[in-house]
Amino acid sequence: MKDIKADSFIDITDVVCPITFVKAKVAIEELEDGQILEVRMNEGEPIKNVPSSFKDEGHKILNVINNRDGTYTIFVKKGGLVNEV
């Protein structure tokens, strides 16, 4: 789990809902299926909604790290839920 290597990284701590997920969605759309996106976001509303929105769209959350500075980093595998089923 600790050695997940991301193919791309996006920081969405500078925006608020609903731009948080829009920005993250645009980033994952640039990847190929199976590639991994690393997303840094704020605690509170973004961490409540962005991971579940990724799940709703068929991507798999591989890991969640609490950075203990008011932010989280998540690793998302594009299409990870669709392709596994």
């Binding site: 789990m1 605690e43 961490i47 409540k48 909604n49 991971p51 579940s52 929105s53 799940k55 959350i61 591989l62 890991n63 969640v64 609490n66 989280y72 998540i74």
Partner: protein
């Protein structure tokens, strides 16, 4: 034109709100939980131009009002409202328009709030014969946007979470997002304290591993809530009640209110006079609730 018998009968049916300006009324149209077709919306707009002053206003209970209708046009407007498939909203001691949030489409919604509102409207609107008004409110989750606790009877969507321990990695995200701190992580496993849990489903939504699952859905039931000059939160009498049981609970509550309430008294006062425990016994008995 004078106030003839026909006009007085029309006025009694409700939905005509006298304005403080002489001879003018605001026409209150019932719209189920705020849902109106675009075609009806266009026609309501036309009515406001034809009979009012070209604008409409929205009520707290998600209805529509056309202000500035002259009293000589009231019967005519009512006929036109009925012709476009809408109804006047009642005032007075009867069931008021049912308020529901957008839980059917809202990501937080745990029950089909719009479908439930439609079903309850079909069954209960605008039942008369109460000591005072009777309000029904529905919110789809504990975020409580539509404030069901301020209705005579209110329902709030809930979900009971269940953990698949094999899938839980103990990442702690559910514990972090839980607003009531009902989840703790021990030995890399999430543990939920049912006494603290408010059944909002945040843990289910957020869990990256889908370890938290929906065990069952239902509603919290609140009774006796009211606003106005003397306001009270409704009593929280049950949790996770099956949605299918709602009509039955409403009916029993209505019967209780009709047979025990005294004129001008809201349900809250009736319950207090008769006793909350007695009320609960009558309403929840035979329902197999908690």
């Amino acid at each position: 034109m004078i106030f003839n018998d026909d006009l007085i009968k029309t006025l009694k049916d409700g939905g005509f709100i006298k304005q403080k300006q002489k001879d003018y009324y605001s026409i209150r149209i019932r719209v189920v939980a705020g849902n109106i077709t675009s075609e009806q919306m266009r026609k309501v707009s036309e009515l406001s131009e034809k009979y009012g002053r070209g604008y409409v206003t929205f009520t707290v209970r998600l209805g529509i009002e056309i202000p500035w209708v002259h009293y000589s046009k009231l019967q005519e407007v009512k006929e036109e409202v009925v012709r476009i498939g809408l109804a006047m909203a009642g005032c007075g001691p009867r069931v008021r328009p049912i308020v529901a949030c957008k839980g059917t489409v809202c990501p937080y919604g745990l029950i089909d709030t719009q479908g439930l509102a439609k079903k309850l409207d079909d069954e209960f609107f605008p039942t008369p014969g109460f000591p005072h008004k009777f309000k029904i409110g529905i919110s789809g989750c504990p975020n409580n946007c539509t404030k069901p606790q301020f209705n005579d009877i209110g329902f709030q969507g809930q979900v009971e979470p269940e953990l698949n321990e094999d899938l839980c990695t103990g990442c702690g995200l559910c514990a972090d997002v839980c607003d009531v701190k009902a989840i703790t992580i021990k030995d890399n496993l999430a543990k939920r304290d049912d006494d603290k849990c408010i059944y909002c489903g945040s843990c289910i939504r957020v869990c990256p591993m889908d370890a938290w699952k929906r065990k069952r859905s239902g509603v919290a039931v609140f009774v006796g809530g009211k606003f106005g000059k003397k306001y009270n939160f409704g009593y929280h009498i049950a949790d996770l009640v099956d949605v299918e049981k709602i009509p039955n609970i409403i009916e029993k509550t209505m019967n209780f209110y009709k047979s025990n309430g005294i004129s001008k008294e809201r349900l809250y006062d009736t319950i207090n006079r008769i006793g909350l425990e007695n009320f609960k016994k009558e309403i929840l008995e035979d329902e197999n609730i908690n």
